[in-house]
Structures are given as C-alpha cells and as structure tokens.
Symmetry: C2
Subunit: 420 residues, 2 copies
C-alpha cells in the first residue's frame, strides 16, 4: 500500500477523523453490537422494493424533494414572463440535471409538436430552405458541453447584496451537453450571399423572441441543438430545437427556433435595445455586450447550505466559467481577500463550460468572509463589485461578474454581504 | 466566409440537399406565402404557455413519452429481481439521462432515508469506522464520467440473434458523471492492515448484494459516489451511495452501499460463484472476469429506429467503450465486413466512459449489413461473435462483446441478424 502524499489528505490526518465514529471492537465482519448507529436494521433491508416496471422514466428520491428550481414571485408581474433559478447549492460536478436547469421565458413554455415544427432559412441566401426535424438529423452532428448564463444573472447585486442564496444570486446558469448540427453547416447548405453579415434568430413561442447575431459568431461555434444531456431538449429549453451561442448571453440562445434570416446589419429588436443593454452613469447604454465575462461563485457553503457540522474539515466548493474559453485558475479566500489560496479544479476543463473547483479547508470555528476569484485562459481576472461599479455605475441589470462574498458566523450560518 | 474542406460536408453537396425544401422566392424575411410547410401559425405561437412556476422539477416533452426504459417480462419471473433497458436508439452524445439509465436489482429498489443511512468500514483495518452521509461529504471529492455495463449485456446473443433492438441487445449500459469520494481516501482513514488484500462491498437493499473486490482495484480508481449527473443518485442507482468500480462489471458497483469489509481473500458469495461466472464448453467456469472488454454498437439506424427518409445522406451513429481505458478507433462497415471505414469519434474521449461515433454515409437504397468494431488504447480489437464462441462456447450469459450486425432492407426496415 502506497503512502499518501496529498497535502489535502495530510490536513485531514492533522485534524483527526473527518467525523467517522470509531467502533469499539468492530473488527471481525459483523455489525458491532450496541452501536446505535449501525444495529438498526431498516425496512429497506427487510422488505422488497419497487420493481423495474415501476418507473419507465425515473425521478429523484422522495428525500430530495426540496431540490427544485425556484422562482421569486415579486421579481416579475407574471410567471409566463419570468425566471426560475437553478439550485446550485444542491448540485455538484459540471453537468446540470435537465430537470433543474433554470428557465427564462417571455411568453410561457411553447409545447411544440416536432412533426409540425419547421426551421426556415431566408434573407440573403442563395437558396432559401425549410427543414423538418427529420431533415436536420441527416446532417453531421456534434456534442458539446457549454454553460448558458442569463445576462441578468447576479443583476440584483448591482445595488448591493440582496437575495440570500447562490440559487438566487447566481442560479440563472446551467451547463449541459448539447447535441446538434453546427449552424455553419446549415447556413452553407443555404449559401450565404457575400453581403450577408448578420443573422436574425426567431423563436416559435408566443413572444416570438428575436435576436441579431454577427455572422462571424454564427459560423464559428454556434449550433442548432435538438438534444441536451443525451435526450431531446426539454420543453422549457426550446424543444424541439434551440440555438446554442457558446459563451454569449443566454437571451441570444433562441429557443423553439423557427427561423434564421441573413441580413447585412443588425435588426435592433426590442431584446437588444430596450433590454439586454447596460445603462451607464452618463446616460448612454452599452450596445451588444454579448460575451459573458469570467466569473465564479462558491456554492457550498452558502446561505442556503450553512455549515452544520462544526469545526474541522470543510469542503468549499464552487463553479467558475468564462465566455472566452477555459478557466485557468480559481483562487479562494476565507478572510475577505487578505489571503488567497489556489483552488483545485476538478474534472474535464472544457472551453465555455462550467468548471468545478474545490478548496478543502480546516475550519477553526471563527467568522469567515468567503470569496472566489476566477482567471480565464485569456488572462481576464474576475473583478470586485466595486471595481465594476467604478466603471459602469449601478444602473445596470446585466453583466455583473463581480466577486461574491458570503459571511459565515461562528455557528456556521451564512449571509450574502458586501465588504470594501 | 471560409470555404468548407470537410470531406463529410462534400459528400452532402454531391448528394444534393439533405432534405430541406426550397422556397420559391423566399428571400426577404417574411414567410413565403403558399408553402404549406411554413404558412401555418401554430397554437404555440398564438397562446401563452406554462409559466416558470409550473414545473419545479422538469420532465420531458409529452411528444417524447415513448422514450422510456423497458423491461422484457418473460426474461425474469418477477420485476423486483429483474432489469429494464436504456433506450440507446433514442439517445445521443455520451451522457445518459438519469431517468433513462437501465436498472438491475435483486430485491427491488431500496428507498433509503439518507439521515438514517450509515457506511461501515470493518475487518482488517486499524480503526473500524461508521460514517454518516454528512461525514462522507467532508472528504475531498471528485467527479468522473464512467460507463456502467452489466456483465450480462448482450447475453442473449451467445445463442444467436435474438431480441430486435439495441435497447434490448445492448441497453444494460449507461454513462453518467459521478460525484463522490475516492474509495482510497476512506480506506486510508480506517487504515488497511498489511494482510488486507480484498474488499467486500455490501448493499443495504433486501438482497444485501455482496461482491469481493481486489484491494489493488479499490485503491486505484474506485469511488463511493453520492451524486450522478450533478444531482443526488437516483433511488434505483443506489441512493444515497453506491460503489463505482470503473471499467468492471456492473454487478460489482454495489448500490445502497452500507458496509466495506477488508479481508485477506475473496468471499465467494453467490454473485461471484453461481452467478457472474462464465461456463465454458469443458464444464469449467471462468472465475473473476471483472473487466468489461472493448465493445461497440450502432444505435442508429437500428431495428427500433429504421431509416424512414429513403436514399441519400444518412447519419450512422453508435457507442463504443472499453473497461481498459479509452477507445482509439471505431470502424464501421455497411457490407458485412468486406469494407471498413474509420468512424468519427465525437466529444471528449474519457477513459472508461462511453465514446460516441458517427459515420456519415450516402445510402443508395440497397440492402446493408451494418457493423461497428472498436479498438481500445491497449490495442484490444472487438471480436466477432463466432470468434468468441470458438474460445468460450455458447453456454455463457456474461461478457459477450461480439460485433453486432443489423440487416437493412431496401425499405429501410432493420433486423438483428448474424452473418458468417
């Protein structure tokens, strides 16, 4: 047996047991008599459970019923033009379960019959085309893991610490494996005319969502996706097809996609003029702020997931991402930025996808100010909220990628705060 | 705009349109009047859909209700000791949705309250331990994508082509992202004594499943997993914890894990003697055939997913995997092995995980005999079924990794066949 040289592991040994209870005289193979933790034989060990015919499509345990998307009723006037939030504090790894991906829609969820659905390509093309779903599945396809973040994620934080929990401050993000056809393949089938420089994507829902996208991006890495996490797209994510615009704001990822028009200039639709632009202190607005900048958040512990086990080994866990590509490094501080420690990035580090980081820490029971700070492969460093406000004021709703602070009290309770 | 140099793409152009219908005079931005494909405004474009409060935990579209796990009632005498199968022909990419992961259990699904569940480490250890779920979550954790294949997957095929569909011939496999603690970490916390060479893993379900695992494997890459695809394990996959034994037969991945005992020799439990051993022609049985050998299958088209669009561009898609590590190459034949073509492996190629392959092909409408053949990074080549039988006879149930053949008739209908 090899000896262990992992420094994280050593810190465990220094701190003693991670919480496991020692069994007196437990060696031998039988359950140790008298230990209340283990002598109970539970019903699930005595009685047969459900058979394989019970759940043709499975669902989570009844004991996970609290792990759900949540909306904030007072945020919007109606649930059909609103948002619910991914419970990031209950999740791990980098894949978001499809049933827990945040949803934002502007006219409710279109429930589309795929046999009736069509995708039309028109405008400045050699050959306008209409595709059925079956047509689209005859093109070479690809599978890519990408994060999707709403431009308004953390938008309340422009005005200071507000909602208490990373589900609400950062939960307008998810990351799934998309299956689909590169948009470039479809556009080349229609043949874009030389004067074509922009693309209009239009949804088939009641809001007929429309966004303008530069042709260069469309040809680079966009997809027309029909699958997520191995199966068909979910209705609230655009079933049967959505546009995937890697690294760019979620509103551009038009769901229930029914039309792609090629033009020579942007259309200036509602969602790229009065909305999804950032009002600056001088009264001007930033236009076409597409890229979601480098960002991170500690998901555990956090206000909805306080520390309940007292002092000793604590796993600090979080997510980092950048619309520019991969994350190179994540730093974690427990003292509000006086000292920073390099976190461990776990799992495949894929461009424009969520990255999971961990920082294993030995908590001494004192107050903490937890923060994380991500740095992407282009060298961009996640700013503080004050740094952001010094440039962009606090009128904005969108593109807040500032460093988040969680205050941990001596009992392990946690609050969303700001420190200067 | 760059010109396209992808050979797959060129074959599309040679074959003409992939199925898209041309619109007469379609340029201009409005739907082309008179084309029945697109002039219909559907209800989902006219009426508001469900709001964000409708589905706290989402589910697939009503139009995907046919995409489910299926059992074969005559295979077993009771559904509580049985199997249902992953609908591989309906899936894409390499992540299996949690709700569609095949399940095999021997005493029904244990519905465990995680607050009551304990994991005990005993036997030849310095310090026997009992962990709560909260304890386990204080150790450093990792996230890994691994396939899990039942040793009996394709077991019916030993006696010739049987069930008609890859869901039934190959559907005892899934591939998810696990979150958990390396088993090594937990064993080192207890301290394995020098004489400890084997591990017994025991489940808390009504069958109290037990399997012996060499300590070397336990220390190499096994995990005690509490998460799958970002969320908690599903009940039928061992909630709240299961053992992950990468690349090895699924039965060893003990679900509802409650005990790990260290010993100096294997235990020879029922599931590693009378079951999960392979009877050879000479009457002897192979013992401890742990590794799932290199294997692949074409998932589309296949008997449950025939070709319905006639001649022209056709995406042939499938899965390949090896318990030894990565897949290096997949070959596809359309003429029963006379000519082999290298398939395109898509997406991250991760060790002991599913790999997705595609072969884009221009179907001329003639009969086909489709096969795929995988080669892993150790150089192992997937054998034919006849090659397997020449060594191991046809008494076996387990470890059939032979090449699968689908016969395609001129109408696109498909059958499971064998050719010599």
């Amino acid at each position: 047996m090899k000896s262990d040289t992992n420094p994280t592991r050593r810190s465990f040994l220094r701190a003693g047991l991670a919480g496991g209870a020692a069994i007196a005289g437990g060696a031998g193979g039988a359950f140790a008599a008298g230990d209340p933790l283990i002598t109970e034989i539970q019903d699930w060990n005595r009685y047969l459970g459900e058979g394989v015919d019970a759940r043709p499509y499975g669902s989570p345990s009844q004991f996970e019923a609290h792990v759900v998307r949540k909306n904030v009723p007072w945020l919007t006037s109606d649930a059909v033009s609103s948002v619910n939030f991914t419970p990031l504090h209950e999740l791990d790894g980098i894949v978001t379960p499809s049933g827990l991906c945040f949803e934002r829609h502007h006219g409710g969820i279109a429930e589309i019959d795929p046999a009736q659905h069509r995708l039309m390509i028109n405008g400045m093309v050699e050959k306008p085309l209409v595709f059925t779903m079956a047509d689209l599945k005859r093109f070479p396809r690809e599978n890519k893991l990408y994060f999707l973040e709403c431009a308004a994620n953390s938008g309340m934080e422009w005005r200071g610490a507000q909602l208490n929990g990373c589900q609400y401050t950062h939960g307008m993000i998810h990351c799934v494996m998309y299956t689909g056809v590169p948009l470039r393949t479809i556009l080349e089938e229609a043949g874009v005319k030389p004067e074509g420089k922009w693309l209009l994507a239009e949804g088939a829902d009641a809001s007929a969502m429309t966004r303008s996208i530069p042709l260069e991006k469309a040809m680079e890495d966009c997809m027309v996706a029909f699958g997520m996490n191995g199966e068909a797209l979910r209705p609230e994510q655009g079933y049967p097809i959505r546009l995937v615009v890697p690294g760019w704001e979620g509103n551009m990822w038009v769901k229930w996609l029914r039309r792609l028009e090629i033009g020579d200039e942007p259309w200036h639709q509602r969602e790229e003029t009065s909305k999804y632009t950032d009002l600056l202190p001088n009264g001007k607005a930033r236009r076409f702020t597409y890229v979601m900048d480098v960002k991170s958040v500690i998901t555990n512990p956090s206000p909805q997931a306080p520390i309940t086990h007292g002092k000793g080994p604590l796993v600090i866990s979080g997510l980092a991402w950048s619309g520019n590509g991969r994350i190179n490094r994540v730093d974690v501080t427990t003292d509000g930025g006086r000292n920073w420690h390099t976190a461990r990035i776990d799992g495949p580090a894929l461009p424009k996808a969520l990255h999971r980081f961990y920082y294993e820490f030995d908590w001494d029971g004192s107050e903490l100010f937890l923060q994380s700070r991500a740095i992407d492969e282009d060298g961009f460093v996640q700013p503080t909220k004050d740094e952001l406000r010094s440039v962009r004021g606090s009128n904005s709703i969108y593109h807040n990628n500032g460093i988040q602070t969680w205050y941990v009290n001596k009992d392990g309770g946690i609050e969303n705060v700001e420190i200067s």
